[in-house]
């Protein structure tokens, strides 16, 4: 009995949580061994987020107990979890802009001297944590300009400062470079060695095996099981997650590249502050080709795509040719009319209108296109038929086409947006992070569609922060670093490490 208490730092017993008809958590009884890195894997909607919400007391369970250090917890408010040593690192960082690193770490948990903040004491504590866990943070800089990997370190130091023993990391690698991921894994190992326990939530199976001591799989709100890494392999884990065979390897179809669809010469783009974000970009995409752009977030990919689609104005001297005609500076509407599709990275902010219905979103951007023949009014039947086709072809899980698109999960919204852009006979598709934050099943689906779409003669520009995605899908790879495009070779020419090096500004010899 005594031993067992020492063994498990956290235990959940029969946690249940229902949202209307959906069983988000269905009798989950999870045991987390002290001093381990415990991975929790599962598709979107498998119940990971709900479970984490319950552990951090943001979500109230319908029933079930949380046992922390052998003691049954009865959290009263979200801060109770933090005071009991549970620290959460969210996928979107919880950092305040225009605050220094230091202020971001201490806010809410300031050491006090009388009525004032005891900056000196806070500082000593933060510095001690940085030293102990080998973080080198620029404490006095504003967080605005710092790279993502540093922001994540700030988040880790923040939960440590708040006294966390159990650290929950929600999809921590989604925005990091391969080197950044290495750094994170090193940090996780250091944390583990110094007695912390880490719950590592991810859907990237490759990473699970790199750091985890134990792996728990969730599916449809149920705990499928907890496994040792040596018991399972990636394929088996994927099967456990989705309950069927998953092709994690994209099956590229052999295509012969046709005429150039998009030609870009000397493209330069400045942002609102006048900083040059795209520097002399030169490339072309031929019909049937997928050109992938890899790069650390913020290297200028977004400005490049915005310029190509007419959302940003390129500098004088830039030339963009589409099917032989110059289209530099044309509006997005003109581009759409010319059959250029665009799947933006920000699917909620730019890809759809959350307040509109599913069918409205399905024709958005194409409401003037042929097929809907709109003179004054939108033909509802045609629009609905089109939407039904997208929903069917792209396996979007919807109840009613009149519902708000906001009622769908992120993966389903993305499938609908991708389906919209793929179903309009577009000749060129600009696509950013098509599978960010969606589950394995949906990724596989979108990949397959993308490959087929290109093989039918369309040109695709794929911008992704997921290096694996770029490497799997692209016929040619370009790497963006600090606004410049660098050659990343053809499909399979360079290794992941070599491209990672290019992404960081290194040279491949």
């Amino acid at each position: 009995m005594e031993n067992e208490r020492q063994d498990y730092v956290l235990e959940t017993r029969n946690i249940c949580k229902n949202y209307a008809l959906l069983k988000a958590n269905d009798h989950i009884s999870l045991k987390v061994r002290r001093n381990t890195i415990h991975a929790i894997v599962g598709e979107n909607g498998a119940g990971k987020s709900t479970l984490m919400g319950i552990l951090t007391n943001v979500v109230k369970p319908d029933m079930g107990d949380i046992i922390l250090d052998g003691e049954k917890m009865n959290f009263k408010n979200p801060m109770d979890a933090a005071h009991h040593g549970i620290g959460m690192i969210y996928q979107e960082f919880m950092l305040a802009p225009r605050f220094t690193v230091f202020e971001n770490i201490i806010v809410g948990f300031e050491e006090k001297k009388g009525v004032f903040v005891d900056r000196k004491k806070c500082r000593e504590r933060v510095e001690a944590i940085c030293e102990r866990y080998h973080f080198a943070l620029p404490l006095d800089e504003l967080i605005d300009e710092l790279p993502v990997s540093v922001l994540q370190q700030i988040e880790i130091v923040k939960v440590l400062y708040r006294g966390a023993d159990l650290i929950i990391m929600d999809e921590p690698t989604s925005t990091l470079t391969p080197q950044g991921i290495e750094g994170l894994f090193d940090a996780m190992r250091v944390l583990k060695e110094s007695g912390k326990t880490i719950l590592f939530i991810t859907h990237k199976l490759g990473e699970v095996f790199r750091v985890s001591d134990e792996i728990s799989v969730l599916r449809d709100g149920k705990l499928v099981g907890t496994y040792q890494p040596q018991e399972v392999d990636q394929q088996k884990l994927a099967n456990l997650m989705v309950g069927r065979e998953v092709i994690l390897q994209a099956h590229k179809l052999p295509v012969s590249a046709g005429q150039p669809v998009l030609e870009v010469k000397d493209l330069r783009v400045r942002d609102a502050d006048g900083i040059e974000r795209v520097k002399d970009a030169n490339f072309e995409i031929r019909a049937g080709e997928i050109v992938g752009i890899a790069g650390v977030a913020g290297s200028g990919q977004q400005h490049l795509v915005e310029a190509l689609f007419g959302l940003a104005k390129p500098e004088a001297g830039s030339v963009i040719r589409y099917l032989g005609d110059e289209v530099t500076g044309k509006s997005p509407r003109a581009h759409r009319a010319d059959r250029v599709g665009y799947v933006p990275q920000d699917r909620i902010g730019m890809g759809c209108n959350v307040a509109a219905s599913i069918w409205e979103n399905a024709i958005m951007g194409y409401h003037r296109a042929t097929g809907f023949h709109p003179k004054w009014l939108i033909p509802r039947r045609q629009a609905q038929e089109f939407t039904s086709r997208v929903v069917r072809d792209f396996d979007v899980k919807v109840q009613n086409l009149e519902n708000h698109i906001g009622s769908l999960s992120g993966g389903n919204i993305q499938k609908l947006i991708v389906g919209r852009e793929f179903s309009q006979n577009n000749r060129l598709l600009l696509i950013e992070d098509p599978t960010r934050g969606i589950d394995v099943g949906a990724i596989e689906y979108i990949w397959e569609k993308l490959i087929r779409f290109a093989s039918e003669g369309a040109a695709v520009l794929l911008v992704s922060h997921d290096l694996n995605e770029v490497m799997q899908l692209s016929d040619r790879i370009l790497v963006m670093y600090d606004g410049r495009l660098r050659d990343g070779g053809g499909h399979g020419e360079l290794t992941e490490e070599q491209i990672g090096l290019l992404m960081m500004g290194g040279e491949v010899g």
Partner: protein
């Protein structure tokens, strides 16, 4: 030439110091709202209504300090009503603000007629704050003429602003309120109750606007007339926004606007179109807003393409 001389005369500068009070007193509270991400255009009505109640309190109890108490209570009650509407009833802040400002004007005019039977009340028997003769200050040449012989409210303005600055940047309260304004969810996950801090900032701005309202009706001369605040509530709003909620920068803005206000007073004595001169403070607001936002303007170019 006399215009130029008037620009640095002790009369103008003394008036600047005096007229900075309604702005600084209000800013001492509103800076916190600004930092907490609350935009409140109803400040004008807070100031106007509490000015009236300050006069009423002083009239009823023959004490300027009880008048000030009335003003502060009135301001706080108004901010409470505004907070209930905006934070809890989900009302749109802009619409609510317009409603407050229009009703504030109407309400004070109506009460003025109902209680004092006039549209401009002077000599109604209310007691005002009297100027203080500060012993050492009195003997300093030039400065004495500017800073001496002001009421306690005028000295309170810069003092409250300094306190506000210390609270904003040196206390946990300040750190948290700034965090609330910058990233609400981050603050929430840090255990900072966004609602609690928004409410504190809201009530604080109401109380401080009450003080600046008190200045309007009870500084040296006890009087109230229709629309007496004349847009000073909006100047508080503009100063806080230009300063990004930093009390020291806001104080500087307050002084700039007060200087224009003072210049209006001195110049209007000369033979010119006084209407043009009285536009000065408002033009200054526009000018300062324009200059501080100049850096954003070039982003218009981005949209030329589309």
């Amino acid at each position: 030439m006399e215009y130029i001389q008037a620009m640095y005369s002790t009369i103008t500068l003394s008036a600047t110091f005096r007229l900075s009070a309604p702005l600084l007193l209000g800013l001492a509270g509103y800076c916190f709202s600004n930092k907490a991400g609350i935009m409140n255009i109803a400040l004008e009505s807070f100031m106007m209504i509490s000015a009236f109640f300050a006069l009423l309190g002083s009239y009823l109890f023959h004490s300027a300090f009880i008048g000030a108490l009335f003003g502060v209570v009135a301001g706080t009650v108004l901010s409470f009503l505004y907070g209930v509407l905006v934070f809890h009833a989900g009302a749109n802040g802009l619409i609510t603000g317009v409603g407050f400002n229009l009703s504030g004007w109407g309400l004070t005019t109506m009460l003025l007629v109902a209680i004092f039977h006039t549209r401009g009340a002077t000599n109604v028997g209310a007691v005002s704050f009297s100027p203080i003769d500060v012993p050492i200050l009195r003997d300093i040449p030039y400065l004495g003429k500017i800073f001496n012989q002001q009421t306690i409210l005028v000295y309170l303005g810069p003092l409250l602003m300094l306190i506000a600055w210390v609270v904003m940047y040196k206390t946990p309260f300040g750190v948290r309120i700034r965090a609330v304004g910058l990233n609400r969810r981050a603050a929430e996950t840090a255990g900072v109750s966004v609602m609690k801090y928004s409410w504190i900032a809201m009530l604080l701005s109401g109380a401080c606007m009450g003080l600046s309202g008190t200045f309007i009706s009870l500084n040296s001369l006890a009087m109230f007339s229709e629309n007496m605040t004349g847009g000073r509530g909006f100047m508080v709003l503009a100063s806080a926004m230009v300063a990004g909620g930093n009390p020291l920068k806001a104080m500087l803005c307050g002084f700039i606007f007060a200087y224009c206000d003072a210049l209006t007073l001195t110049w209007s004595g000369f033979d010119v179109y006084s209407q043009v001169i009285s536009m000065l403070p408002y033009l200054a607001v526009l000018l300062v807003l324009f200059l501080t936002h100049l850096k954003n303007i070039k982003s218009f170019g981005r949209f030329e393409a589309s």
